[in-house]
Amino acid sequence: MDVIKPAPGFEDILPLEYQELVADGPYGRSLGVKDLGTFKELIEDHPLCAGCNLTLSFRLLLASLPKPEDTLIVTTAGCFGVIHPQIALHASIAPFGTQNAFASGLTRAMRIRFPEKQKDVITIGGDGSFADIGMAPTTHSWFRGEKFASFMLDNECYANTGGQASGMTPEGVVLNMAPKGKSFDKIPFVEIAKLAGCAYVATASPTKPRQVESMVRRAILVAREVGPTFVRLACVCATNYKLTPIEAHRKSKELVSQTDEYMTEAAREYLESLEGAA
């Protein structure tokens, strides 16, 4: 497969990172979470907090992409925004909260530009950028039936800006900038996604990597043919919740004690046709 190939004579001047991506990257290979550690990943190091569950979710998400070489990522402001420039994929950063508006246009443009090719546009944002400031662009992309997958890294607060309560922070939680505790409970955003027309909605935890992989893939596959999809990755913020990495990991596990997966009949039939054929 000739996806990423340097022009002859330029191989040796490529920085090592690129040489490794060319020789051993995931492009055009059917790799997944079980192969982590055996190939050059799309992201190797990061400047985020040690033990951050959001970063682990991000890493698993990238390792689960069904066709990384044809994937376009749209992110926005948030902790993960610092990783974004270092992903070895097409990745654009939209103004805060507008990632799903941006991706709507990008998806349509890709279908016009590459009618013969499946390009997977995905959005990645925080709970703030999906459920608060970005709620209108997000839900309206779903009302319109825009076919792309959205991934919320739900760390249950605005972490990047120092610890404000977000709509997804549970009631009563005290944060640096919510000293009296959050005054209302978590927004039922997963339910909103179903009502707004998502064909596939799931909640996963980075503590269950194979589950993350399955949900990420299903979300992307369903978005190709059936309709918008949404996955919430529960990854409570270690730093702002003042948890050790182990405690944060345990908490993320508790948050998704039961697999939470919903799909429309059309999505189920489509997935069965693919999974049956595989």
Partner: protein, 208 residues
């Protein structure tokens, strides 16, 4: 009315004094286009904003490269990766040019990711902070090739703003008015004409 611009006024006349020359020009250089510099017509190149015949540009570029202390090619994504036969041919022509200019180096621009602070300016260049690579390697003359238009223009402007590096852009499309010298439609054939000019100048005893 003085200088007041009203709706329907003719566009401002180009500033006849503006020249696209090596900097440092200041924190934010104006875009050359905003100063009235226009892209060259077919068959023409630009030298410091002035249109000249394509036949004259290779000698000017060759002279600049041979006089440089540390000439460097920045191959961008359009030539660094083997997209097409044309990009592979241009890549080969650029490698031949580099081989012909004594001491010329290549530092790649593999993509446009704003990788600060992770970038290693010793071995790669990035359009969002090209000055870091130029300062780090003390590059006095550089050649851009295979960089998409808007990233080339941003990078060339930043270089003019913050460094004294002389910029040459060998563009496969319409040229780059923000470079000190630019050739348009520059595929392998035009690059080879620069290599030939370098050979001629060297044979003529140029002090390389």
């Amino acid at each position: 009315m003085g200088d007041t611009v009203t709706a329907g006024s003719p566009p401002r006349a180009p500033d006849p004094r503006y020249r696209v020359v090596a900097g440092p020009e200041g924190y934010l250089s104006p875009a050359a286009a905003a100063m009235g510099i226009e892209l060259p017509d077919e068959g023409y190149s630009l030298v410091e904003g002035e249109s000249i015949s394509d036949s004259l540009a290779p000698d000017i570029i060759a002279e600049r490269l041979l006089e440089a202390r540390n000439p460097t090619l920045f191959p961008g994504p359009l030539v660094l990766w083997g997209w097409s036969d044309a990009s592979i041919r241009k890549a080969r022509a650029l490698q031949e040019l580099v081989a012909e200019v004594p001491g010329m180096k290549m530092i790649p621009m593999p993509d446009y990711r704003p990788k600060y602070p992770k970038i290693d300016p010793a071995i790669e260049i990035n359009p969002n902070h090209p000055n870091l690579t130029i300062w780090h390697n003390e590059i006095d003359v550089c050649v851009f090739a295979g960089v998409h238009c808007h990233f080339a223009n941003i990078a060339l402007k930043i270089i003019r703003s913050g460094t004294d590096c002389y910029t040459i852009a060998l563009c496969g499309e319409r040229g780059h008015e923000d470079a000190m010298v630019t050739m348009r439609d520059a595929g392998d054939v035009k690059v080879a004409s620069i290599t030939a000019a370098v050979r001629r100048l060297k044979a003529g005893g140029h002090d390389a």
